[in-house]
Amino acid sequence: MRLAIASGKGGTGKTTVAVNLATILAGLGQEVTLADCDVEEPNAHIYLGADWLYQEQQSVPVPQIDTSACLGESCLKCVQECRFKALIWMVDAVMVFPELCHSCGLCQYLCPSGAISEGIRNIGLLRSAKSRGISLVGGLLRVGEAMAPPLIKRVKETADANAGLQIVDAPPGASCPVIASVEDADYVVLVAEPTPFGLHDLRLTVELLKSLRLPFGVVINRDGMGDGRVDDFLAEADIPVLARLPHSQKAASISSKGQLLVERHEDFLGYFEQLWSAIQSFSPRVESSESR
């Protein structure tokens, strides 16, 4: 069973929900893997106090040209067909721009003289840890690397090797990194903030999840900080509210220190227990976490 935590807007509390939920489930004796797919700005390990046990450099394939085998200007198939302009003809040789390459393999497939082999571009670190009974898997995108989805896929593949419940902490937004994180989830928990920006970005994410045909419900975080328009929208669109986490200075202070609400704030332990039972009742597949 794979549960993804997402939101259009950043800073609404995705990671807060993911780490606190994972913690109470591990406390109940559930086998839990947390996949931190926000590889651009990963933070789950901070809250879990996790030390990385394993770290490995990850790379994607990019073309490498053997100039002695390249047919040169008489061919240029790779240059003409690359959709990403990652190969260009420069004076007297094919030049590769590895940062633009999507690793599709087209150039290698098309090259008539076998002059293209696979080199690598580092994309960042894949890492894992164990803390509070939770298996944590995460990625750290190399600074300067533009494409997060390949690393997100590695994180998910690694998390998939574990049995039990998988909680995916997705990045903010509504484009490729989010899709890579949530597309195969069994259920998505959207974290929304009751503000105009929060509502607008929630709507975008709702549209995205509908287009992906994924079932979802919403957690309203910092409930009471803004207005009632998020509630109105959810009621009208018939989207379930799974839980409400009240706007609380004490909670904000606990989270700011990188601590867990379920360990430091009695009320929030209750809210997260409610959230888990709501997830179970709205998503029938969650109940039997063994049958992933």
């Binding site: 700005e41 393999g105 937004g173």
Partner: protein, 285 residues
């Protein structure tokens, strides 16, 4: 003409609220909402759209079921798992590389133009705004960001405006890199939380990687003094000036609800801090 991009690494630190507030100060400018994934500036600016442009970028594969023999070559070669077992292309996973069209022995794959969203040239009470909406589930947000930024720059040239003020997106990946290109200054919004601190170092690394000058505004500066001190230490280590501090204030949310900038909503308190920030910013330009 100068270009300032507002970034933060972590989401929800107050980039858009700060950008909007600064929009009301300083010289004639063009605004650019480069958070095309989750663009929010228009919610406060209420822009009058002057021009709408379709954003067409890249391609997507389409398999003609009448021609397809279901041989499986495309599925085998596709590195993005974008073709499902019933030989339909999953648009949200297709990167438009066209490898499938080359391996298909019967020519069943067509490459179609990809409509990734729209971008707009609008007028607001603070001057011109270039903004965009990315289509649902579309990729190429980096290219759309580049389009918005470039168009804003061109409009500024045309009007003789001195400044392009860009609202960026969270993270350090492709849309952020696209919004940083050409910037004269990255204005980074920091927040004293453990998560934001880690994200701050990553965005500092990114601007350094691209050789772009940075300045910092600390938002919600009164929620954790110890972490503010750590932000100060990191900034001083890296030689990045802190040009302003904003305390946590519910007026920020109330302004948003009222459809106003914090400068308009609270001109005396928050507004004064924003004016001081602008003064500091102006000196460095």
């Amino acid at each position: 003409m100068k270009e300032i991009v507002v970034l933060s690494g972590k989401g929800g630190t107050g980039k858009t609220s700060l950008t909007l507030a600064l929009a009301g100060l300083g010289p004639e400018k063009v605004l650019a909402d480069c958070d095309v994934d989750a663009a929010d500036m228009h919610l406060v600016l209420h822009p009058e759209v002057q021009e709408t442009h379709e954003f067409i970028s890249g391609e997507r594969a389409w398999i003609d079921p009448q021609v397809c023999t279901e041989c499986g070559e495309c599925i085998e070669h596709c590195r993005f798992e974008a073709i499902d077992p019933s030989f339909r292309v999953r648009d949200e996973l297709c990167e438009g590389c066209a490898l499938c069209s080359h391996v298909c022995p019967v020519g069943a794959v067509q490459m179609l133009e990809r409509h990734c969203g729209s971008w707009y040239k609008s007028l607001t009470r603070f001057g011109p705004l270039v903004h965009a909406s990315l289509g649902i589930g579309e990729e190429n947000s980096g290219k759309l960001v580049t389009t918005v930024r470039t168009e804003a720059g061109a409009w500024a040239e045309e009007n003789g405006a001195e400044l392009v003020l860009v609202d960026g997106s969270p993270g350090i990946g492709c849309p952020v890199i696209a919004s940083l290109t050409n910037a004269d200054l990255a204005l980074i919004v920091a927040e004293p939380t453990m998560s934001a601190l880690s994200d701050l170092e990553r965005i500092f690394d990114l601007v350094e990687h691209f050789g772009i000058a940075a300045q910092v505004v600390v938002n919600k500066s009164d929620i954790n003094n110890e972490l503010v001190e750590r932000i100060e230490a990191i900034c001083s280590d890296r030689g990045i000036p802190i040009i302003g501090r904003l305390g946590y204030d519910q007026a920020v949310t109330r302004a948003q609800i009222a459809g106003q900038t914090i400068l308009e909503y609270d001109p005396d308190n928050l507004g004064q801090t924003i004016r001081d920030i602008w003064k500091n910013l102006e000196i460095s330009l």
